[in-house]
Subunit: 216 residues, 2 copies
């Protein structure tokens, strides 16, 4: 089932990989070249078996008993698996506060994401350049997406307009959508979507907080 160089990983695993990667990059900087799964797991509060399973599910290189894993190698394998090497170009629609923050955020490079332009309907931002990224009128989206064969779109518009923008993106050829608008979007089967929902995160945290406080 699983072919070489095209391994599958569970959703839960994929969510942990960037955490491993960040950790590995950090210790590499500190001069560490070999790490045991036990140590790695302890340092990020995870189960060592889980770490080993995650690593073995994506990596062909193996760890050495008694020694551990080569940091360099793991960084390479994880980056590779996550596709951080061959960058994803993306467009962002909705250059408001959040959109501007995302355009400005330089850390996305580390995740293989490259936002090439922003789009909006507001003439006050159209024509501006934010962190070297031009802001175009939304009407130019289809041609630019097609021209650069862009597959990923980021939605940071008010929720009332999110579905409209989503449709526009899909019609222009985008097949992966990352949305920060708090509304469920209707999409065809062949499009993938990820809802970024800080409200849900916050709900979980405040729920835990309540449980914590009520225990006292």
């Amino acid at each position: 089932m699983t072919e070489k160089d095209n391994k599958e990983a569970s959703k839960a695993t994929v969510l942990r990989l960037p955490i491993y990667l960040r950790y590995l990059k950090r210790i590499q900087k500190e001069g560490v070249s070999v790490i045991s799964s036990t140590r790695l797991a302890t340092d990020i509060s995870l189960n060592p078996v889980q770490v080993r399973k995650d690593l073995s599910s994506i990596s062909s290189g193996a760890g050495k008993p008694k020694v551990g894993f080569k940091v360099q190698e793991l960084i390479f394998e994880i980056s590779n698996f996550l596709g951080y090497d061959n960058t994803n170009d993306a467009v962002l629609v909705g250059v408001g506060r959040l959109g501007t923050t995302l355009l400005n955020y330089s850390g996305f490079n580390n995740y293989g994401l490259n936002i090439i332009a922003g789009f909006d309907t507001n003439s006050e931002v159209i024509g501006k350049t934010i962190a070297n990224k031009p802001v175009y009128d939304i009407s130019e989206l289809p041609s630019i997406v097609k021209k650069h064969s862009i597959k990923m779109g980021i939605i940071t518009v008010p929720k009332e307009n999110a579905q409209k923008i989503c449709n526009l993106m899909i019609n222009s050829g985008i097949v992966a959508i990352w949305t920060f608008s708090h509304i469920h979007l209707k999409i065809p089967d062949n499009v993938v979507i990820k809802y970024e929902d800080m409200g849900a995160s916050l709900a979980l945290l405040s729920n835990q907080l309540r449980t914590l406080l009520s225990k006292k």
Copy 2:
């Protein structure tokens, strides 16, 4: 085990509740007063049984066969369960781009979160007021947190400083931490933490995108 008015809900359920809530508020605005779990589930691409289980796990009021659930009632019950009624005051440390965006974001009210102040070490932002929230010198954090009995802290500082800020918060009496810094923080057992990790989200999405593209 489960007492009245103090129900427990699984982590997965808690993460879905804000989604239900948003949906319910939207349809209420549109004049809908009764909704079936079937319909709700379809509209947000979930399984109806799951929705009913989630609702029954937090709500004492029941749905009526053939009719459905009262929208008003559900909104009340979910808000209540999530604690969106009795607001959580919070402080935010790190008034950079992301911190500023969060201070400006008005939507947190809907989640029962009220950021009362920002803190930083940068004299350029100290003394400013962002969206009616004062920005103080970090040295004032302990006294303000104690004075207002604040339980929640938001960390938006560079990762190098995150642990230091985390410690300061905990020493000042904060027991729930929401961090946007991409680093694992060491905390005592009686503190809850939620890592907001856009990198992980992005990893999942680009992984799905790759799978999608390779299938074609």
